[in-house]
Symmetry: C2
Subunit: 483 residues, 2 copies
Amino acid sequence: MAFNKRSKIKLLLESSKIGKNTTIMGWVRTKRGNKNVSFIAVNDGSTIQNYQVVADPNVISEEVLKRITTGACIKATGEVVASQGAGQDSELIAQKIEVLGEADADKYPLQPKKHSMEFLRENAHLRMRTNTFGAVFRVRHALAFAVHQYFNDKGFFYIHTPIITASDAEGAGETFRVSTLDMKNPPLTEDGAVDYTKDFFERETNLTVSGQLEGELAAMALAEIYTFGPTFRAENSNTTRHLAEFWMIEPEMAFYDAEDNQDLAEDFLKYIISYAMEHCKADLEFLDKRAAEENAKKPTNERTELGLLDRLRFVVDHDFERISYTEAIEILKNSKPNKKKKFSYIIDEWGADLQSEHERFLVEKHFKKPVILTDYPKDIKAFYMKQNDDGKTVAAMDILFPGIGEIVGGSQREENMEKLTTRMDEMGISQEELYWYLDTRRFGATPHSGFGLGFERMVQFVTGMGNIRDVIAFPRTPGNAEF
Amino acid sequence: MAFNKRSKIKLLLESSKIGKNTTIMGWVRTKRGNKNVSFIAVNDGSTIQNYQVVADPNVISEEVLKRITTGACIKATGEVVASQGAGQDSELIAQKIEVLGEADADKYPLQPKKHSMEFLRENAHLRMRTNTFGAVFRVRHALAFAVHQYFNDKGFFYIHTPIITASDAEGAGETFRVSTLDMKNPPLTEDGAVDYTKDFFERETNLTVSGQLEGELAAMALAEIYTFGPTFRAENSNTTRHLAEFWMIEPEMAFYDAEDNQDLAEDFLKYIISYAMEHCKADLEFLDKRAAEENAKKPTNERTELGLLDRLRFVVDHDFERISYTEAIEILKNSKPNKKKKFSYIIDEWGADLQSEHERFLVEKHFKKPVILTDYPKDIKAFYMKQNDDGKTVAAMDILFPGIGEIVGGSQREENMEKLTTRMDEMGISQEELYWYLDTRRFGATPHSGFGLGFERMVQFVTGMGNIRDVIAFPRTPGNAEF
């Protein structure tokens, strides 16, 4: 007989079942009470809100009640009644409670007290049972679904680009090698190099740093596509903003120029944030309070002015400011923190790469709205970006958000075969290896554009979590591949 | 100024724009005609249907018309008029045509003639521009979206489980090693082994073969979750059914027993197939015809009785038959092909692993409906499956489809700590390495279940493509990591 006959707590809270009998199942968050009554807060993961089960020791035996401790999993059946206390409309008067699985109070790590984020990271296999991480992963889900919903509604096609690849053409960073060769005694060529022709793929392969180039191939056939898959960087970065394994969303669109690309990116970002705000109200209210508490603990000069929900509204409610890199440099050069040498990196000439402090100044102080920075110097951008007529800039865009700086990077792509190959030669990128990429310029080329969004950066922005390791279930970082 | 002002062909065909002016952009499939008029079939990837552009040489110059060849990308503006010919309701009388990108007829590989599948695989960067592959990837998108839609509607949360992992606990197959160590001179320990503590993750790591174990961790907090991510097998299998890199969908649910699991899987499979049938009518009609042509070319004894659309309806319209492995063995033992020794593997006793020929016999000949086979011998199944009371079977299920055999494998999971650890010891699986998995049995255990669907197998089933390399954009197989 099917076992899963239960009311999900989220639905139970939304509907009025008062007077009816039902069953809930979930994990015990707390139990309190006295000799005459026990109040058991149960959470089933469907919502941040616990549901209160009221247990009368005349109905539920002492033997059962003793086994109901924080972390235990229970099945409770009884009548839904209007709640006496504040906080929720209804509660369950238990007629029967079954302990599905105990949680020994001496051993269960997640006791009802404040745990450090580091402790919870070490217990990532259990941390999703806390309020904070439950909220984070529900919001993460909502954002991921919103991505698919947005592009599907617009007629884009989801493409799975390869994870294992022989090309690191973009030169976007250090890569992980993928191999089945014997590490200790690899086959060697006559001149003593490792003979990758004997490897699984008969060539050297690594984990992808981006699906963009393959995404462009698909866009040159299906016109509007997006990827949403894992990407990898083997950089030894132990920061709150870097992961060795993270998920990227990369739309690529035939027939889009730089302006179309900006329009799409702005609309897309607003959509997914609005979606989360609409579908994760309770989780975001909780995270908003949490962020405010975290903020209050910081030294005054590190505190943010805007609360979490304020920051989300800030993005959704404003037209993004669109300015060129050249204009931004002028603004920064003449800015107070630059003149007073408050920036760590002083901006004194055109061509400088912008740091997070500059990006945040433009967004938070100068324009007070999200900013799309366009037309960067070609020397600080990738080979595939469309060269502008001025001969020194490319049709790139970076989108800058409050508190976080760059969240999206993209560009119109260079569709002109001669310009593209000249730039590849200048930058030492092999035309032969990328023959397939160049074929899309050889045959039926068209203006096209695309951008990339690091998914975990977006989850960080929407949840207000300070460390990127806390927005992915099982983070991979230098020295850490646990679980 | 924004460039992307066009009518998508799919929407143009659905709406009546007759008498209105519009612009389309896309790739030329064919051009035919005579001195007085040219008919240009344009495809923009939004649908399998081409749109006809009619070009009068008095309006469109000869110089432009000459550059319009198969594979070229064009922008055509003109008036939409009711079509004279059969096949579509309207066409575009060109007032202006701009060639966005040429395709030299002497060099462009995809000339309008029949290409072998092998040739198209070698040109995977261009093959999405053909009718067949355009259809396949639009159907693939629809199926992927349906997966997300289904689980989101049911309140499941999408979890990204790790791609790089230190555990190969399931023992599901050979893995790819992920490393940044110098292949030629790796650091060694004192006793001469490769010293993986010096590697990026400070331990030996590989690409995941399944997200299930991590998915279970999430289900023990959020109750109902699913994964949809890439998985890897380093097996040297050069078949039409195996990829080294493929995508898996793995739902895991707290509070589901074996029967709940079967109910969910059947409902899910019917949903995503129905979704594709509803949203990809034109593509599936094309693929149905294609499959019929392929079928007719086969020797009589290899032909399938059911056409592609018949097979899809076969699954959607029938309640799946649910029988135990033990019952299946009895049926097979007494079957005609077994008695007449027509099976390659004769079934003579309980405990035998079933081959594709047996699975297909059950589905296609005996029951004439999809079959859920349950309660397999524990010795041919994984350690984590729930042990039945008979002491010899586990609460596994395989779902069998016509033409393809097993498409889903799953089980109720063993939640009993003692039974689980005993089985791990018997099978030589380290309790220490999997401490985090065991913690979900130590703390707040509950009956739970899950299953796995190989996404490419499903795309093969729905598109009728014979080779799995033709349902993923850039397949990875032994010796092949091109693009």
